[in-house]
């Protein structure tokens, strides 16, 4: 008699409590992450009320790389040692139970209903090589870790790409409902608008340069799950690699009893491609502790428990590969630095960094491009750079006043920076920190060039004694009639470069007053006056 089960589809065994607990944990951490993400915004006071950067604080990769590159780590980043300690005992539980990007990958991977290949590609060493290259670069002051760090990457992608797109979609739907043709919908739209505004929508539609690129990269990473589930986590994630190395001697271990007949069922469900199906080849460093291999085992042979025994299989990267990766990282330092923006005494005029940003060199050693500062920026003026700060400064924050100025009473960017690249300033300190200097374009300014009154730059100037002042003049218009105008001047001692004058200048297109980085407090060289000390 033939076995009927063999011909029908494999019946899924019931999901164990441990797996449910893991899913619950993943959901809870993802929600917490998204909640904190939504709280990363101006609410009317100079505090957020929530630890918006909490996930980044617990990121040991950011800790280690800033410690290497800047020889210093922000105080809160020491929290990440907790995660290292947990990993040392329990293995990569972070990847399986906590990481928001891991959970998103998990969710997309679960959508994969076809099998391009049942066999994992086994490229897991890649992520270790990437990690080694990044850390070797860090050791020589090059900070590129944040580009690949999963938490930094997720915050950045959501902040600059996905969330703005989400807002745009929802707002467009509401716009349509507000059209005069849909009279009946307006009141419903009012209610929906209010509810959404109070919950998930941004106060104002966020606009970011390279937003589409950020979205595409992120969706690309998620899409890789359709090629192979948790492709990113298995093969690319440098934090996963760091945790993999840490988990080498973890006490929580998987053991397989004698009953195992290496049927390979567990291999199909393994999240991390840790080769659970081959009895002695299980890789602790690749295991996410998802507990998927426990359920399907027809023999009930799989169990997890604490043990001080040596893991069956140790990670072997190959000495030559390790050395080559490290050298690549070191070489990258020289490759990115041979750039004219690093030529001494040639500061970049448009590279207006947020207030509290460290001197450029130190700033780049710390900035991990997480995008927190851009997400929280009250006016949305902080934008990601592309090439303006060199390849190593890619996606670091630059103020573009025409998009949004620096709000005078706001210090939020320094509060959410996880690495201290932007120092946390007290408000009085911030109000005296120059990020640049405004200059007037007399060829465009209405009172100068067109005998037309205008005072907007003076009106909006926020310093208690205004940095923009007038010269009252009577000029002649074309008809020869006298016209009294007030021509603005910038007081170089008082201007802090906040850029509100540029943002609000009514000369559309290229404004008649604009801010350059010259005069910025953080630089000794990027100064205009002999005595640059001034009243501040």
């Amino acid at each position: 008699m033939t076995e009927p089960v063999a011909r029908t589809k494999r019946r899924k065994p019931p999901t164990s409590k441990t797996v449910w607990a893991r899913r619950l944990s993943q959901g809870a951490f993802l929600l917490l992450f998204l909640f904190l993400f939504l709280q990363t915004e101006q609410k009317g006071a100079d505090e957020l009320g929530y630890p918006a950067k909490l996930f980044l604080d617990f990121d040991p990769l950011l800790f280690l790389s800033t410690l290497l590159s800047a020889h210093k780590a922000a105080a809160a980043l020491w929290l990440s040692l907790v995660l290292l300690a947990i990993t040392a005992v329990l293995g990569r539980v972070f990847c399986g139970w906590v990481c928001p990007l891991g959970t998103l990958n998990n969710m997309v991977g679960a959508m994969r209903r076809w099998h391009l290949t049942d066999r994992p590609r086994g490229w897991f060493r890649l992520k270790y090589f990437l990690l080694i290259a990044l850390l070797a670069g860090s050791l020589f002051s090059l900070q590129l870790t944040g580009i690949f760090d999963p938490l930094s990457l997720t915050v950045r992608s959501l902040s600059l790409g996905i969330y703005p797109a989400f807002n745009y979609a929802v707002n467009s739907a509401l716009d349509a409902a507000y059209q005069p043709g849909f009279q009946g919908l307006t009141s419903a739209a009012d209610v929906a608008n209010k509810v959404l505004q109070d919950t998930v929508l941004a106060f104002r539609q966020p606009y970011f340069r390279q937003g589409a690129l950020m979205s595409l990269l992120f969706l690309g990473i998620l899409g890789l799950n359709l090629v192979e589930k948790r492709f990113w986590c298995r093969y690319l994630c440098p934090l996963g690699a760091l945790l993999g190395l840490t988990s080498r001697f973890a006490f929580l271990k998987r053991s397989v009893s004698e009953g195992c007949n290496t049927c390979g069922l567990c291999d199909k469900d393994c999240q991390g491609a840790a080769s659970p199906g081959t009895k002695d080849a299980w890789l602790a460093s690749e295991c996410f502790y998802c507990f998927n291999c426990d359920d399907p085992c027809p023999k009930g042979a799989v169990s997890f428990g604490f043990s001080a025994k040596k893991a069956p299989e140790a990670l072997d990267l190959g000495r030559r590969n390790v050395i080559a990766s490290a050298l690549t990282g070191v070489a990258a330092v020289a490759v990115v630095r041979a750039n004219p923006i690093f030529k001494p005494l040639t500061p970049q005029p448009d590279l207006i960094r947020p207030p509290g940003a460290l001197p450029e060199r130190e700033f780049l050693e710390r900035c991990v491009k997480c995008g927190e500062c851009m997400k929280v920026c009250t006016t949305g003026g902080l934008q990601p750079t592309l090439w303006e700060a060199g390849l190593e400064g890619i996606w670091s924050p630059v103020l573009v006043p025409r998009i949004g100025y620096c709000e005078y009473n706001c210090t939020l960017c320094g509060q959410v920076c996880p690495t201290g690249a932007i120092r946390r300033l007290s408000l009085p300190e911030k109000q005296k920190t120059r990020i640049g200097t405004a200059m007037i374009d007399k060829g465009r300014c209405l009172p100068y060039a067109h005998t037309t009154p205008c005072i907007v730059c003076e009106e909006v100037c926020p310093t208690p004694k205004k940095a923009v002042w007038f010269e009252r003049l009577t000029v002649q218009n074309r008809a020869g009639d006298p016209v009294e105008v007030k021509q603005p001047h910038v007081d170089l001692d008082l201007c802090i470069g906040c850029g509100i004058c540029e943002a609000k200048c009514p000369v559309m297109g290229r404004p008649a007053i604009y801010v350059f980085s010259v005069g910025e407090s953080r630089s000794k060289d990027n100064q205009l006056l002999l005595d640059a000390a001034g009243p501040y």
Binding site: E407, P453, K465
Partner: protein, 301 residues
């Protein structure tokens, strides 16, 4: 007897007596029916001064009917605290909200289109928390809710996008703060309406006085309450230096923006006619400018 004549006969002494609610040498009934052009209420507590000013204007019921949708438009233009006198005093706003609701208003809406970040302005000015507590519907300006409005009598602008809530309100109360301004010298009640203009309103500075008078031909407040609890005497309109702030503990109420602004000018040692907007309004035949001809009631609260 016309009220101007009455004013001339009674003189300021009588006004003082009226204010104190004491015996009037003229018919008490007549005095009660006369609504002054302006009430100037002085007192250390902004809420009491505001209530007294409205009371002297005939009470809020004289302006607000049962079921009215009321818009109260304060100046919430800047990210400053009440002590810095760049935004309307929040207690004054909240008191007006309460008075409107007591008079039977259905809804009292409070909003402004600020220059600084709206969230910060609403909170730091104290207006959002206090007005909400008083029962107002405090909302941020929604860019979708501007409608292009024709200004037939406009000289500088012929049309402009204005906020729908103002256009659709049953009653409008203008509650500016008295401040210094670099271009218009002062910003009082006329200029407060910039806060309901959409679009690139910065352009109006090219012809600010005429533009503001243009606006006043399409936005007609029922009541004007000028907050002079604290005034900003220099570095306006946003200030920031407490040395520029003067505490006057005064509330000025009226129904005519020209009258209110003319009086407001005197707080800064100016004459109304020295303000471009008042001069423009006068030239265009909108409202009185000669304070001597107004019935002004000064009261202590």
């Amino acid at each position: 007897m016309r009220r101007r004549d009455f004013m001339k006969i009674s003189g300021s002494g009588a006004a003082g007596l009226l204010a104190a609610g004491a015996f009037s040498p003229f018919s008490p009934a007549l005095a009660a029916t006369l609504r002054p052009d302006l009430v100037v209420a002085h007192g250390p507590q902004p809420d009491r001064a505001t209530r007294a000013a409205i009371e002297a204007m005939g009470g809020m019921k004289a302006f607000i009917s049962k079921g009215d949708v009321v818009v109260i438009k304060p100046n919430i233009g800047w990210d400053r605290t009440p002590e810095q006198a760049a935004d309307t005093n929040p207690v004054v706003v909240a008191t007006l909200v309460a008075l409107c609701l007591e008079a039977g208003a259905k809804t009292v809406k409070v909003f402004d289109r600020p220059c600084n970040d709206p969230r910060r302005c609403y909170i730091q000015s104290g207006i959002e928390p206090l007005a909400k507590a008083a029962g107002a519907d405090v909302s941020h300006v929604d860019d979708r809710k501007f409608r292009e409005v024709a200004i037939p009598k406009g000289e500088a602008i012929k049309s402009w996008p204005l906020y729908i809530d103002v256009l659709e309100a049953d009653k409008i109360i203008n509650v500016p703060i008295a401040k210094h301004h670099g271009l218009s010298r002062l910003t009082l009640s006329f200029k407060n309406w910039m806060g309901v203009m959409g679009g690139t309103r910065g352009r109006i500075h090219q012809n600010i006085h005429e533009t503001l008078v243009d606006l006043s031909t399409v936005i007609r407040p029922t009541l004007v309450v000028l907050d002079a609890v604290r005034i900003l005497t220099a570095n306006g309109p946003q200030g920031g230096d407490l040395k520029d702030v003067k505490k006057l503990d005064t509330i000025i109420a009226g129904v005519d923006q020209v009258a209110v602004d003319s009086y407001g000018a005197t707080l800064f040692g100016l004459k109304g006619s020295e303000l471009g907007v008042v001069a423009a309004a006068h030239r265009r035949g909108i409202g009185p400018v000669d304070l001597d001809k107004l019935l002004i009631r000064k009261i202590e609260a």
